[in-house]
């Protein structure tokens, strides 16, 4: 097979070589438990502290506001369940959107079974939550608004600043799942009035299995994993020192390169979008045209089915995704595509391509060339296309 063209960076990224280099000493050389008191363990503790400092710096918060977790899903679960538990006496109402990641949606559904009320906001055709909807859904018993920073499927960036302002005005806590946004777009939690924020290392060239939750000072936080005194007694378990060190390094690199990367990826992404829309008929771009992640393109090809497209691309060494990785393998069309108003059959024919700064223009052109051919092949064997042609030629 020819060179791999990896266009699924929203599912996960290759770890940056410098990140691996940063992690390595903590496996075999400085392997001490950060909680141990001897000087040897000081190296591990310093690695954890240094990473926390980088991350806090990136978000504009204090180091004491960062809690390491095992990933984005844990952070989402912890944030939402913690607020639900801590603020139960204040109320039982949570506001979220219909296009959240399952880590948020399923947690909300779990709470809904346990005496909480959840409002799932609609989004517009571009996948944006309307701030006025958020405001209109606030009730006296609303304790939490949780709206993602950027959507993992269609890449749309949500109006976080406006939502943060509304949350603050109404004195409701605001959590954002920023798993897709951290490292890709600038985020200042104080400026945006974000009270809690979830992130995951493997989306920004860090290792898998490590994430963090930012929790603004002053928020009542329950512990998600009980046990030892790690993470200021809020999240027990021996620290994943290499993972934490790697995440710190990945964040540092992401920050340093963000501007250049965003410019490069945006240009490439726009080239991809333009070619696909121009050269493959009956195709729609999903998500907002400009307010989207620099590296995300999401298309619906009418008359074809997404899995077939993916597998045909795979045969040519091109990695893409339809819907989010976690749900692929299921036959339900993406809840996100349904929420932006796609009919079922179009939702089934969607393809997400997410770039990195290693992606070349040649990769994109090869991909578009391949897509043109295979979409045509699939359409030529599709009864839906046959019907369409018939009806149109009448």
């Amino acid at each position: 097979m020819s060179k791999l063209i990896y266009l699924d960076n929203a599912a996960t990224t290759a770890v940056h070589p410098e990140v691996v280099a940063e992690m390595l000493p903590y496996f075999t050389e400085f392997y001490g438990n950060p909680s141990s008191i001897y000087s040897f363990a000081g190296k591990s503790r310093q690695a954890v502290d240094a990473s926390r400092k980088i991350i806090a710096g990136a978000l504009g918060c204090s180091e004491k506001e960062i809690y390491f977790t095992a990933g984005g899903s844990e952070s989402d679960n912890w944030a939402i369940k913690s607020i639900a538990e801590s603020y139960r006496s204040k109320g039982n109402h949570i506001i979220t959107s219909k296009i959240e990641h399952h880590a948020v949606l399923h947690t909300c559904e779990y709470l809904a079974k346990n005496g909480y009320e959840v409002t799932y906001l609609d989004v517009d055709g571009d996948g944006r939550v309307r701030p006025e909807d958020v405001e209109a859904s606030i009730r006296p018993e609303t304790i939490l608004i949780t709206i993602m920073f950027a959507n993992n499927e269609i890449g749309t960036i949500e109006p976080i600043r406006e939502i943060g302002r509304i949350a603050k005005e109404h004195n409701v806590l605001f959590h954002t799942d920023a798993v897709q946004a951290v490292g890709q777009v600038p985020i200042d939690v104080k400026e945006y009035n974000i009270d809690m924020l979830s992130a995951s290392s493997h989306k920004l060239k860090g290792p898998k299995g490590i994430g963090f939750l930012y929790v603004r000072n002053g928020i009542k936080l329950t512990s998600f994993i009980h046990g030892g005194g790690q993470e200021r007694k809020k999240r027990a378990g021996t620290e994943n020192v290499p993972g934490i060190a790697g995440f710190g390094k990945a964040m540092e690199i992401a920050l340093e390169t963000m501007e250049v990367r965003a410019e490069y990826e945006t240009e490439l992404r726009d080239h991809l979008i333009e070619r696909v829309l121009a050269e493959i008929p009956h195709t729609k771009l999903n998500g907002h045209r400009t307010d989207r992640l620099p590296n995300n393109a999401n298309f619906s090809f009418e008359f074809v089915e997404g899995e077939s497209v993916l597998i045909m691309l795979d045969m040519q060494g091109i990695c893409g995704s339809s819907g989010s990785a976690c749900t692929s393998g299921s036959l339900d069309p993406s809840h996100v595509l349904l929420a932006i108003g796609l009919p079922h059959e179009k939702a089934h024919g969607s393809l997400r391509l997410t770039l990195s700064d290693e992606t070349t223009r040649e990769d994109i052109d090869t991909t578009v060339d391949a897509l043109k051919v295979l979409i045509e092949r699939l359409r030529n064997m599709s009864p839906l296309y046959e019907d369409f042609i018939k009806n149109n030629s009448k």
Binding site: I37, Y38, S39, A41, G42, R45
Partner: protein, 128 residues
């Protein structure tokens, strides 16, 4: 408590404490702490003309407790009793170039034992 959170002075006084031991003909002694809680300190003093001419200690405790006991004796030696009574746990911690937040209470041990020793001296000598 992590070893690296201690100043060089603390480590020096911990590894080479000054004035350790018992003064068998001490003029007074004073204690503080509770072995149940992991710390106990006894300070022995010899006094001439209201001046502490010799001082020693025995301690059961953590790094900070050992270092601050040692420093307490250094600070008190050669002082007159009234001056020595003024020594606070903050003075002890300062003389050690500081103690970690969670170990500040260990320096109270030194200040308390010294105060008790001096008070015992006064009580004994008043009775005479």
């Amino acid at each position: 408590m992590y070893c690296c959170s201690f100043s060089d002075k603390v480590m020096d006084h911990f590894m080479s404490p000054r004035n350790v031991g018992v003064i068998s003909d001490a003029d007074a002694e004073g204690s503080s702490g509770d072995p149940e809680c992991g710390d106990a300190l006894t300070i022995y003093i010899k006094v001439e003309d209201y001046v502490i001419t010799d001082i020693s200690f025995l301690v059961f405790g953590c790094v900070a407790a050992i270092a601050s006991s040692s420093m307490t004796t250094e600070l008190a030696k050669g002082r007159n009793l009234e001056e020595a009574l003024q020594i606070t746990n903050q003075d002890i911690a300062d003389a050690l170039d500081g103690l970690p937040e969670s170990k500040m209470h260990c320096s109270v041990l030194g200040a308390d034992a010294l105060e008790n020793a001096i008070k015992n001296y006064y009580t004994k000598n008043q009775k005479k």
